[in-house]
């Protein structure tokens, strides 16, 4: 049984880690941008960001004043049992979010959409969002927090099979150029593309592609992996860099995730994980131990399965 107290204290530690420590994979990617950027203004911006990450770590203060919207991704190993059950876990995550808001401190960002009610703790109706996934084995729970910033930089469009790859390319460019001007998307970013699924799944996949995969990771489908590299280069050849100044640094990496969709359509979403690509993960074991890491390891062969059965699924045998 995974103790609730370790879940909550780990979740609080994750909130602070995400807000303060830029993940290594994004940092390395941004350093590569710094090495190749020729635009003087764009290069200055990237240099300032690199110094900003140092300052955040040294002072233990949030890297960006805008908290974005802190949220949670929870993955259960198939054998995991949590003290207090799923309701206990959700309570722990809400408490950790509220406590880290005053503890770090983080700017309270979450308000009611109509009445603008602010609890000053980043908790409210449907906030923080909690998404779940499951893994075929394991007695652990993986907690990932993402503090996704940006009112800008995401878009959705229903494309059709006839729009083809060119249509995908075009919508990708539209989004990057539209939100890249004046740097509204706080690029260079990890660009996530969701292709297919139902409308809501398409948005979810694109967001997860940008926030839950590390820079340098590739989709297991070699043709999609090639598209990811092509799109990264395409984004960096727009002529735009950090803050929309002339340059070549728009895309630190591009990740594409797909889901089977309606036979008549080809929905597409684009998401940009900004200069403060804040994510942190920990695996918590039944003895209360927590192992921290920066790779959420969210997408797996299991999560991307396209068959009816998985391995030797015991369900059928049990039912007979």
């Amino acid at each position: 049984m995974i103790p609730l107290a370790s879940l909550q204290s780990t979740a609080e530690a994750l909130m602070a880690k995400a807000a303060i420590e830029i993940p290594d994979d994004y940092l390395a990617g941004l350093r590569r941008c710094a090495d190749t950027e020729k635009g003087d203004l764009s290069a200055f911006v990237i240099q300032a960001m690199l110094e900003n990450y140092e300052a955040a770590k040294e002072d233990r203060r949030a890297m960006c004043g805008d908290t974005g919207v802190p949220r949670w991704y929870v993955k259960y190993g198939n054998e995991a049992r949590v003290e207090g059950g799923p309701v206990g876990l959700e309570a722990a995550l809400r408490r950790a979010t509220a406590r880290a808001t005053t503890g770090v401190p983080l700017r309270p960002n979450r308000v009611h959409p109509l009445w603008r009610t602010d609890h000053n703790n980043n908790v409210g109706i449907n906030a923080p969002e909690i998404e779940y996934a499951f893994h075929p084995e394991g007695d652990w729970v993986d907690l990932t927090t993402v503090h996704k910033g940006g009112l800008f930089g995401s878009d959705y469009r229903m494309l059709f099979p006839g729009d083809g790859l060119e249509g995908i390319r075009r919508f990708f460019l539209d989004t990057l150029i539209g939100f890249g001007k004046r740097g509204l998307a706080c690029q260079p970013a990890i660009v996530g593309i969701g292709l297919g699924g139902s409308k809501d799944a398409c948005m979810v996949l694109g967001k997860q592609a940008s926030c839950l995969r590390t820079v340098g990771s590739r989709n297991p489908d070699p043709k999609i992996a090639a598209m990811e590299e092509e799109f990264r280069e395409l984004g960096n050849s727009i002529g735009m860099g950090a803050m929309g100044f002339m340059g070549s640094s728009m895309v630190v990496d591009c990740h594409i995730e797909v889901g089977y969709c309606h036979t008549g359509g080809m929905p597409m979403s684009v998401h940009m994980f900004c200069l403060s690509s804040r994510r942190a993960t920990a695996r918590i074991f039944p003895d209360g131990r927590a192992e921290f890491r920066t790779d959420p390891d969210w997408f797996t062969a299991y999560s991307r399965r396209d068959t009816v059965e998985w391995g030797e699924t015991p369900l059928l045998a049990a039912a007979q």
Binding site: D40, F44, R61, M63, C64, L184
Partner: protein
Amino acid sequence: MAGPLKTVELNLPASREALAELEIGTVVYLNGRLFTAREGVYKRAIEDGAGMPAANVDLGTANFHCSPAAVIEPDGRFNVGAVTATASFRFAKWLDGWFKLSGCNIIIGKGGMTSEIYRDVFVPHGAIYLTTVGYGTGALLGRGIKDVPGVYWKDELGLAQAVWVLDVERFGPFIVESDLAGNSLFERENAKIAPGLARLYEGTRPATLRRYGETDDKTDEVI
């Protein structure tokens, strides 16, 4: 790596002569007093007729579009962590009234406004626009804050929308987005990038299903 940019330290309140020295693209660090104000403050001060929450000397004349990541400790002390600007274009409609009321001559924010607004509203009031950098340099900016001499309207507007007065030292970096002549750095950069865009779209055609209000002119601004 590209060459260094012209860098200036500016003391607040800034004189007109000091502002006249600044060209678009200059890097600026600030020393002195400034304050935060955004839509909540504009509404209350201008539309509701509440006026300014305090005198010029208490607030300064540089207005930062931001809400700090800050808490008021039980003993009344302020703990400011990181500060990051919020997108300014949404506040353009209040600015003429705001300049008259506040006497501000520096607006600090994210993303700037259009050069039309600069010429029509900023230039007559002798004001410039400084953009934050990144825009995520919240920790660097947080470091530059040496004191919080006051917070106004926190009960009326909440912590995020309240007026935070900040005494700063080598607070930055910022980049001059608009100078006293009303030029815009972002528009200059957009104009340089625009000619290359058509090439990227070669061989593609608009999506099968159109959307209302959509433009195919990639030189259009979204703000």
